[in-house]
């Protein structure tokens, strides 16, 4: 079948997750869970700002500041109202206290209303399907994370170990 290679080994997806904001937390977990659902082997290497996605309690946030393509939409009201994109100049956002947590709240609400799973649910689905979640040792040392900060299932490895894993993968992605 197409989900395995000619030698009968399952296909493999190797990913690097390098970003930890709420918006960028989604793609690695969505792709990992979809691939695992197709019986692929999946490993995600979390490095730099992706590391907090391994924390026991996820607290990913999103900021429209310096993120000009992010639409600011209201998760309530009529459909027409919800589709309005509120233009927010950086100079304004940077000076409103609590703006980031408001934006995070809006995004979470919008995702929930549309039927998108939470990042927590997607990570749980990945763990259920034996996706390997691997923390980058070097950046853990730099940013002061220890293995105890992360979920029990998390592994720790270095660049060489990840590359050896990725060399055997049919699909490699850097996010």
């Amino acid at each position: 079948m197409a989900g395995s290679t000619e030698s009968g080994k399952p296909k493999r997806l190797a990913m690097v997750a390098s970003k930890g904001t709420l918006d960028w937390a989604y793609p690695p977990f969505i792709l990992a869970s979809a691939a695992a659902a197709m019986d692929w082997e999946v490993g995600i290497f979390f490095t730099f700002y992706g590391l907090p996605l391994l924390k026991k309690e996820l607290d990913a946030k999103v900021s429209p500041l310096g993120n000009p393509a992010m639409p600011m939409k209201m998760p309530f009201g009529s459909e027409g109202f919800q589709n309005i994109n509120w233009p927010m100049p950086n100079i304004l956002m940077a000076n409103i206290p609590g703006f980031e947590s408001a934006a995070t709240g809006l995004m979470k609400k919008m995702f929930k209303n549309k039927g998108v799973a939470t990042v927590e649910e997607l990570r749980e689905a990945c763990l259920d399907m034996d996706v390997r979640l691997i923390g980058c040792q070097m950046t853990m040392d730099v940013f002061g994370f220890t293995k105890e900060d992360f979920i029990d299932e998390a592994e720790v490895a270095g660049a060489a170990a990840f590359l050896a894993y990725a060399a055997e993968a049919e699909v490699n992605l850097f996010i």
Partner: protein, 79 residues
């Protein structure tokens, strides 16, 4: 009318990508070879996704119906 009986139903209405395929995989895992799962979704992306899922996993997509905003899939567990 198709000549198979449905052994299990899975409601994925209101769920978006990738949950329909994730839940389908989980449901199929708990079934016996030869049994048929009926999965219902409202995510238009489920149509191409379920075709890809079937091709990748080898489980047979017996039928995929677009009922105008509701998508109905019949999947036979093959291994």
């Amino acid at each position: 009318m198709a000549d198979f009986t449905v052994n299990k139903e899975l409601d994925c209405k209101g769920l978006l990508c990738p949950m329909p395929v994730v839940k389908t995989k989980k449901a199929i895992s708990a079934m016996a070879v030869g049994e048929v799962l009926e999965m219902i979704a409202t995510d238009p992306g489920a149509m191409p996704d379920m075709q890809a899922w079937s091709k990748q996993t080898g489980h047979e997509l017996l039928e995929a119906k677009d009922e105008g905003g509701v998508y109905r899939f019949f999947i036979k567990k093959t291994h």
